[in-house]
């Protein structure tokens, strides 16, 4: 025990003497939250559209005006032929084009139906999808309006079944509520995996590990002494991040903080074990960064932090069975947004626990004092 205390004293001295550590611990959470949450947003604003109106009727004119009145769509260009309209799309001048064919209004009045075309730049598939959905809604709305006007009645065809959506746990569909827990997971992972791994590899680089290995210090003492400081820092940073999340983004925190920190504790054991494991087969800090970065990016992208796991292909969903980040982010969102208890989270808790045990066991087994 005393040996571990001496190790901890030394680690904390080194950590706080390192000029880069304090910024990492305090500035990184703030930066990640502010930059990522505000910049990496899927919310759609300012879609520029063009119109190619061959009909030039009251109906088409009214529709274009209605669209321009929406906060999401700006009318940028009106063209007289399709080539010119396409040109605008190719030059990125507009994101989408509405094409009204000749006799649009006539067809609508005479046949009760008319066709139009929408051309969307889908280089960014997500934006294209959302634009289409918004447009669809506006068109449907307009449709109803026309029906009402023509038949002088409010009972339109489309009004028999009315859909009223209620979004549970995130009623305003606030993007930040989805994003912030994800950022917190990334934060905890970076602290747990990189800081601990780098610290260990640094001892290898400096050669001090040899000196440690020749002392009667026990393997478990050394490992506990090395991992404990980063466990503290990880939990501290999570708390710090949660405070920022509450103050700046007013993220709902329905569940118990104790439950949250129990889950975070187990998750940190997993990533600390991962950091230790990577440090056993890398010799320099650069190697560790490359290996760690490679692993982390895959795990982050697959985990559902930024994109829903449910829309991934089956093999990717299967992969997530071995992705600890998947379990932690799911649990974190459930606790924060739904107020899930430890009993609700059993599956996630035990999964993470198994990861922690396996990871630390592997790392300890790979870490040898003798070669």
């Amino acid at each position: 025990m005393r040996v571990i205390l001496h190790l901890l004293k030394k680690e904390f001295r080194q950590i706080f003497r390192n000029r880069i550590m304090i910024p990492i611990i305090f500035v990184m959470p703030i930066m990640q939250m502010l930059v990522l949450v505000y910049a990496a947003t899927f919310e759609m604003k300012n879609i520029d559209f063009g119109v190619m109106d061959a009909d030039k009727s009251i109906t088409t004119n009214e529709f274009v005006q209605k669209l321009s009145a929406s906060p999401f769509f700006n009318l940028k260009a009106t063209s007289n032929n399709l080539d010119e309209a396409n040109e605008n799309l190719l030059n990125d001048k507009v994101d989408l084009i509405l094409v009204f064919p000749e006799n649009f209004e006539k067809n609508l009045v005479r046949d009760n139906k008319a066709e139009m075309q929408i051309l969307i730049n889908a280089i960014n598939g997500t934006v294209a999808g959302i634009s289409q959905a918004y447009l669809g809604e506006i068109i449907a709305e307009y449709n109803k309006q026309i029906i009402a006007e023509f038949y002088k009645t409010n009972v339109g065809v489309g009004q028999n079944i009315r859909i009223q959506a209620q979004f549970w746990y995130n009623p305003e569909l606030n993007y930040k509520v989805y994003m912030v827990p994800g950022i917190l997971v990334v934060l905890v992972t970076v602290i747990g995996m990189f800081l601990s791994g780098l610290n260990l590899v640094r001892e290898k680089e400096m050669g001090t590990i040899e000196q440690i290995n020749v002392t009667p210090i026990r393997k478990y003492q050394f490992i506990v002494g090395k991992l404990l400081p980063f466990l503290f820092i990880g939990l501290f940073d999570l708390a710090f991040g949660l405070v920022i999340a509450k103050i700046i983004f007013d993220i709902p925190m329905v569940g118990s903080m104790l439950t949250l920190f129990i889950m975070a504790f187990v998750f940190l054991l997993v990533v600390l074990g991962a950091g230790l494991l990577v440090s056993t087969f890398t010799e320099t800090q650069q190697q560790l960064m490359f290996v760690g970065y490679f692993v982390m990016i895959i795990f982050i992208l697959m985990s559902g932090i930024f994109t829903p796991v449910e829309s991934m292909p089956i093999w990717a969903q299967k992969f997530n069975l071995i992705n600890p980040m998947y379990y932690f982010i799911a649990a974190l969102r459930m606790i924060l947004l739904k107020g899930s208890t430890l009993a609700d989270l059993q599956y996630y808790f035990y999964s993470l626990l198994v990861f922690a045990i396996v990871m630390i066991w592997l790392a300890v087994w790979k870490y040898k004092k003798v070669n």
């Binding site: 005393r2 040996v3 205390l5 001496h6 190790l7 004293k9 030394k10 001295r13 080194q14 003497r17 390192n18 400096m206 050669g207 001090t208 040899e210 000196q211 440690i212 290995n213 020749v214 002392t215 009667p216 210090i217 004092k369 003798v370 070669n371």
Partner: protein, 245 residues
């Protein structure tokens, strides 16, 4: 095996693939002596010293250090030895005093002993007024003397020094050897590798290693007589050259 031998090595062999880093080494070190383990760079000195310290497993041979064998009693060995390597072993970002306390602490010294040892050591090395300097800010010669003193802070029976004086001038080396003599006088066995032949003169006995084999082992004076030369440097050159021919 005689009682006074503290290190016994029979047929120590370490093979990396096809390469014999240590080829059937045989020697013993007496309690309290200064044993020089000489050889050119790459002769296999560091490999052997790492095996004796329990940092590396031999491919074969019967080896005991302080009465414990190097295969499965490495933890007992580590309690009884000190080690200072050519690659620098103090923490650059800790102060002189913090380094002493840390290593003393992980060797299990209690607080009282540790305080006493720390102040004695600082005084002996004339570092009392520099105890709060970071290691990276003090000269190499001082670092080496401090590293040696820390390697014996737990009063081991043997201390292994792997090229402890690399990169410093002869006067600084001489200062370092004063510390070695002092430790030897207090009963600690010194096992030192070096490729400075002037340092070989300071040893009680030396072995000379070429290409993984020990080709000579005796006191410096006997070696000089045998090869009819005046300095250890000439002994070494003669042996190394003979090996090439």
């Amino acid at each position: 095996m005689t009682a006074e031998n503290i290190i016994e090595v029979e047929n120590l062999t370490k093979i990396y693939g096809q390469f014999y880093a240590n080829d059937h080494l045989n020697f013993s070190v007496k309690k309290g002596e200064i044993f020089g383990f000489l050889g050119a760079n790459g002769a296999g000195k560091t490999t052997a010293i790492r095996i004796l310290c329990g940092l590396s497993k031999p491919s074969g041979g019967k080896i005991t250090v302080a009465g414990f064998n190097v295969y499965n009693q490495t933890e007992q060995i580590k309690r009884n030895i000190g080690y200072m390597s050519q690659k620098f072993s103090l923490y650059d970002d800790l102060t002189v005093k913090e380094n002493i306390e840390f290593y003393g602490g992980i060797y299990g010294l209690n607080n009282k002993t540790l305080r006493q040892k720390t102040s004695d050591l600082l005084q002996k090395l004339d570092l009392t007024d520099k105890q709060n300097f970071l290691i990276k800010d003090i000269p190499l010669g001082w670092k080496q003397r401090l590293a040696f003193s820390i390697a014996i802070i737990h009063d081991p029976q043997i201390v292994f020094l792997d090229e402890p004086t690399g990169g410093v001038d002869p006067i600084t080396r001489r200062h370092f050897w004063d510390l070695i003599y002092e430790a030897a006088f207090s009963g600690i066995t010194i096992f030192v590798t070096t490729h400075y032949m002037d340092e070989a003169e300071y040893c009680d006995r030396v072995s000379i290693m070429v290409d993984g084999k020990i080709i000579a082992l005796d006191s410096p004076d006997n070696l000089k007589n045998t090869y009819q030369v005046d300095t250890m440097n000439e002994v070494f050159l003669k042996l190394a050259r003979q090996k090439i021919n």
